[in-house]
């Protein structure tokens, strides 16, 4: 039973909590597929999305998740808010709290910001990505996708390729997948591999082929252009030649392996266009899983809020 005010990361979640979210999300997915009857469990509740970084899919996904469950929904983007006038995160949080909102989905460029907010508001805070720390709902949607494809997470081999160092997606996936019994392999240019990730449970591959060998899931991570201009790798073409995923690399994967990507994809960099649009790609379906997961998280956090009242 998910018994927590906030969802800040998967590092602190138990396997049982993750499993409960995925089970609920799976039911949401099925309902959405059958025409969107998900109940009005959040009627009268308010969700605020507070985004300090640009986002299309995560933000829209949170907004619609709230709306589909009957909640009021308000957006605050940092450009339009008093953040521009120098208001601190804690002051912003206290203002939102005074507006009696129930949920805040926050995205912030700095690690730990959602935790700081959560400590100062009564609302349930959902981390929509904080710097290089965590992005729990992304990892949950990835796990939902895997669970729906393979029926289980335990025993899967998941290969994550790309900018591991700056990726909150890779880390949240690592924490969640390890808890549910999957094996997580990682591969990246050495400049994009963080220290100590192996101590957190990842297996670091020596080559693309080793990472992908026998994998059920191959996940590409988005390469931010500023990593290249910052000198972390020489050029996009060199990146795709040595670190991108293509048909030749996918030959090492298990037959029936799926290709995932948190999006937005740089076509021809992390993955070849043929793979993105090919049969093994589940990238588009991940978006629906994301909606389902966020609905499930809102519903379960709401249940805990009701219980506490």
């Amino acid at each position: 039973m998910l018994k927590r005010k906030d969802l800040l990361g998967l590092y602190d979640c138990s396997a049982e909590e993750i499993d409960e979210i995925l089970t609920e999300a799976d039911a949401m997915y099925e309902s959405l597929d059958k025409g969107g009857k998900c109940g009005n469990v959040l009627r009268g509740k308010t969700l605020i999305t507070l985004f300090y970084e640009n986002s299309t899919r995560t933000r829209t996904s949170f907004e619609l998740a709230g709306k589909y469950l009957g909640a009021h929904e308000v957006n605050i983007s940092s450009a339009a808010s008093s953040v521009q006038k120098g208001e601190t995160l804690i002051d912003t949080g206290m203002t939102l709290n005074a507006l009696k909102c129930d949920f805040i989905a926050i995205r912030h460029p700095m690690a730990g910001a959602p935790k700081l907010l959560a400590e100062h508001v009564g609302a349930s805070v959902i981390n929509g990505g904080d710097g290089m720390n965590e992005h729990p709902t992304q990892a949950l949607l990835d796990m939902l996708e895997m669970r729906r494809r393979f029926g289980k997470i335990k025993g899967l081999k998941v290969a994550i390729l790309g900018d591991i160092k700056h990726s909150r997606v890779a880390k949240s996936n690592l924490f969640g997948l390890k808890k549910l019994g999957a094996e997580v392999w990682m591969y990246s240019p050495a400049t994009l591999m963080p220290q100590g990730i192996d101590r957190l449970g990842a297996k670091i591959a020596k080559s693309r082929e080793e990472a992908v060998e026998g994998a059920d899931v191959v996940m590409g991570l988005r390469i931010q252009l500023e990593r290249q201009t910052g000198g972390l790798f020489p050029s996009l073409s060199e990146y795709s030649k040595f670190y991108g995923v293509n048909d030749a690399v996918m030959k090492y994967a298990k037959p029936g392996a799926v290709i995932m990507h948190p999006g937005p994809v740089n076509r021809g960099v992390e993955l070849t266009p043929a793979l993105i649009d090919g049969k093994s790609s589940v990238i588009v379906d991940q978006v629906t899983c994301g909606l389902s997961v966020r609905m499930a998280v809102l519903k379960l956090l709401s249940r805990y809020r009701e219980e506490r009242l």
């Binding site: 995160l89 690690a111 730990g112 700081l116 965590e134 220290q195 100590g196």
Partner: protein
Amino acid sequence: MKLIIKGGTVVTAEKSFKADVLIEDGKIASVGKIADSGCPVIDAKGLHVLPGLIDMHVHLREPGFEGKEDIESGSRAAVAGGFTQVCCMPNTNPVCDNAVVVSYIKNRAKQVNLCKVNPIGAITKGEEGQTLADIGKMKQAGAVALSDDGKSVMNSQIMRLGMEYASGFGLKCLCHCEDAALVDGGVVNEGYNSTLTGLKGSLRAAEDIMVARDIALAESLNLPVHICHVSTYSAVEIIRSAKARGVRVTAETCPHYFTLTDDVITSFDTNTKVNPPLREEKDRKAVTEGLKDGTIDCIVTDHAPHSQKDKQVEYNLAAFGISGIEISFALSYTQLVERGEISLNALVKLMSANPACILGLEGGAIAEGLPADITIVDLSAEYTVDADKWYSKGKNTPFNGKRVKGKVKYTLVGGEIKYQG
């Protein structure tokens, strides 16, 4: 004016012995068995009488950042911590890079009249690392050393010139060691915990490279150099080997580097944010070893008080620094002496005799003729750290709630009781 400290155990860097101390006209008149003569007496039975503690690396924030600390609150905190002398870093506003600011600090300290405050002048104008500050004039006004603390003088040629020119005035450079390009916005140690938290890390090498560079300059020029707040195991080793071949290098560290590891950053508590960052267990151990074998010469606090608004923000945005002058002795005693790492005499050496020696300050011993700068402590008193009760404006400490041993009972400066606990 006479005063007798009676019945205590005198502890110097060399030895401990039962003795009374007679103070006359602000100076230590005699040490030994002293008969009552009707003058005031401090009963030091069961207490330890130490040469006044000296903290050669603090930030008093005045002028310019009085919201964080000022010379009065900082001095009050210093004497409460048992310190009779402090040396304050020049990263104020305006920067202490000229004789006027040096004089201002000296005058304010004189008005406040608590501990001795020795200003440290900037090596370069504005601490910008470009052109040398008026070093001679600052020396004349009372600066005791030079530092661009908060950053390294990145240009090695400027650093060389600074060390050379300063030597002409008998001043040492105190080097904050940090390769700016390599730090690249890092806020914690780069390693397992930076990856776990997603907080940007800074490599040990960022510190080590500049430690090695400043030692190389000192060695090539045959000049003395002092390395500030050593935090890495590798920097300890660089200093150790330099000392072994006769390089004139001295070094300091802070209580947090031999007490804490970066495991505490996983709470995202911004009071754990300090520069250089808290490192790992092998660093903590090596720093302790360095204190034991004399590689590291002294303990300083790098007392870095900040106001609440500087710390109650996202970890990345929070100011670097730990406020610590009121618990430095207790932390050091608890962590090092109580645990049997070093003797009480060695602690006196690290916190009083050596800093005096490194900067050529009067003090560091209890001997006839010296100024009566004396710290009296109760080593059996145990208490819980509570920053809310501090005199310092800076409540930013990761040690709140920690049980420590060793309480300052009296702090005497020039024979006057400036603090009684």
